[in-house]
């Protein structure tokens, strides 16, 4: 891959003399977002800090735009690479304009006096992150979300070809997370900037990254496209998830399923069952879910929440054998909820189950689920 703008070769990183991770090869091309994911303390920040020369390399090299970074002077690097790290910065009496203007450092003269062009760039960067109105505000008095946007403007103002960010979205609310990442995406698309960052939010990492680097204790476990990385099993393994699971398709975590012999049966389908499943799980009630086609959205959720699913292949009416299986399960139960209101030819069997439950007088209103 000759087009990588920033890459590492056999890079070894660590603190002091102890090597934390060895033989790291990470490549970032222009117009691409590379995201580091992995459990806390796996070394994501260490890798990023080493790539931007905040930490001395313990081996190997980092190449920026064809040059070995060790041979470049600070100014040359600063013109090509800017950073947004987690260090909390609380400068005294600096307006947001001043903070962003700090990004012009490599371009200004001996005394750092801003030219008209510099000022224009500062305003442009502030506008790009939708923070122009904060121009005159005291940097130490704005919210976390605003602060992060202003720091991003500072990074942009440095006119970099590559931006390195360490957990830029931590501590931001959902709106600000999305805004920040959208701005990054824009930078990548319109200015062909290369981005390498670490993210804790797997759902966001899955959506924004072109390449995902999985950092696990002492090694880079996998590098690939999000589609290859974000599978339920792999994420569970990467993070060593023991309780609960990760729902790769939805990009969301799921808590542990209530364990035990189910005495509750939920007849669902077509998305109607989800809220009932969640309510039961919240209350710690183990349950059967049925009869669900394997392409049903309820199936995808029930997979994580139900103790057992009575499933059936897609696009086919529920077979007699499956129906019998469901009945057998239902007969073990003391409570049945039916979240379906309409039935069709495909799930005729579910209607029969519901009617049988009503005759057995164990059918309850689904909105009452969990209220024992």
């Amino acid at each position: 891959m000759a087009d990588s703008y920033l890459f590492t070769e056999h890079m070894a990183v660590g603190y002091g003399r102890a090597i934390l991770i060895d033989d790291i090869s990470i490549r970032v091309a222009r117009g691409e977002i590379v995201t580091l994911i992995g459990p806390n303390g796996a070394g994501k920040s260490t890798i990023l800090k080493s790539m931007i020369r905040q930490l001395a390399l313990m081996g190997g090299r980092v190449v920026l735009d064809k040059d070995d970074m060790a041979a470049l002077d600070g100014r040359a690097v600063a013109k090509k690479m800017s950073v947004l790290m987690t260090d909390r910065t609380q400068p005294e009496l600096m307006t947001c304009f001043d903070v962003v203007a700090a990004g012009r450092y490599p371009y200004t003269g001996r005394f750092g006096v801003l030219s008209g062009e510099d000022r224009r760039r500062v305003r442009e960067s502030l506008a790009l992150v939708h923070a122009l109105e904060l121009e005159a505000a005291d940097f130490s008095r704005i919210s976390d979300g605003q602060r992060q946007r202003v720091l991003l403007a500072r990074a942009i103002c440095q006119e970099p070809e590559v931006i390195v960010l360490d957990e830029p979205t931590s501590f931001l609310d959902i709106r600000h997370k999305l805004e920040l990442l959208s701005i990054l995406k824009e930078m990548v698309r319109e200015r062909r900037v290369a981005v390498i960052m670490s993210l804790h939010e797997l759902d966001l990492a899955q959506r924004i990254s072109d390449t995902v680097v999985c950092v696990c204790e002492n090694h880079i476990d996998r590098v690939g496209e999000p589609e290859d990385i974000f599978t339920d099993d792999y994420i569970r393994r990467l993070y060593g998830v023991k309780r609960g699971g990760y729902h790769a398709d939805f990009g969301c975590p799921e808590l542990e399923t209530a364990a035990g012999e189910p005495q509750t049966f939920v007849i669902g389908g077509g998305g109607s069952g989800i809220s009932c499943y969640r309510r039961l799980q919240r209350k710690g009630v183990p349950f059967f879910a049925g009869v669900l086609h394997t392409n049903d959205i309820d199936y995808a959720v029930a997979k994580y929440l139900a103790v057992q699913i009575i499933d059936t292949p897609p696009f086919e009416p529920i077979g007699e054998e499956t129906y019998e299986r469901a009945r057998a399960c239902m007969h073990l139960c003391k409570t049945v909820y039916c979240t379906l209101e309409d039935f069709g030819s495909m799930n005729e069997a579910n209607r029969r189950l519901m009617e049988e439950a009503r005759e057995m007088e164990i059918l309850r209103e689904p909105c009452a689920a969990g209220r024992i």
């Binding site: 600070g74 400068p91 009496l93 903070v99 005394f111 000022r119 500072r154």
Partner: protein
Amino acid sequence: MDEGKRTRRYVIAFIALAALFAGLVLINLRVGSVDETAGELYGQILWKIRLPRILAAGMLGGALSLAGFLLQTFFANPIAGPFVLGISSGAKLVVSLTMIFLLEWGVSISSWGMIAAAFGGAMISMGFILLASRRLQAMPLLVICGVMIGYICSAVTDFVVTFADDSNIVNLHNWSLGSFSGMSWGNIRVMAVVVAAAFLFCMLLSKPMGAYQLGEMYARSMGVDIMRFRVALILLSSILAATVTAFAGPISFVGIAVPHLMKRMLKTAKPILLIPACFAGGGAFCLSCDLIARTVFAPTELSISSVTAVFGAPVVLRMMVRRQEG
């Protein structure tokens, strides 16, 4: 606040500072126990006593406040200063030891020698503070550490001063309390050279200092050579504090109070503005304190440090309370 408003504030502030400074120089020249009626003696007093004293107060006050600003930038904390961190006291101790030692041998010490001794002492205290700062992250602890170093140095100084028997010890005693009196034109020339050079170096460092205010990480990412920059800051602040101590003894609170007042006045912490402002402001502050020191209870003189403490300490206290309130 738009650009024009800001610039106007800076211009007005600097004009006000210059006017204040000039006014204080004139008042200091005029006020004293001898006036025009004394004829030729008056001219002599102006030229040989008052003018050197004024220049010393102006330059050393500026140097002290600048040293404070450098230390505040270095430690990223507004309560750092050469006095509270024990740097002035370290300088004082080594100067006293050197003077007593040399007086025993009947050798008098030159201005350069004094500065060198003071610089040595300042660097020793600075070394302790830097060692402590690797372990103590919290600034208040570091300041307590500095105050302790200051006390130890002062105690040892008092000890050696008490037991050194020499007629010159009277001078040493006055000096160790802090005073701008007794400056010769030779002293003034030496301090002018040192202070001017340090001031110029500070101006040249104003750009990286500005970047450093955002934090070490950002400064490095923008191309500042952190190692060199930090060494330069330490050397410059030590030289400035040492020069002040060598000539005028330890002077308290100027290093914290003046930079704070200047930041409030300019509503910015940009080094390129703060360095000259701190210098002029420190000079003006010490000129007015010296005026008070020598006139209020004339002919008895107060030590300059007690006057700067009376005016400086409340400013520092107010600042700390306001910061706590956020």
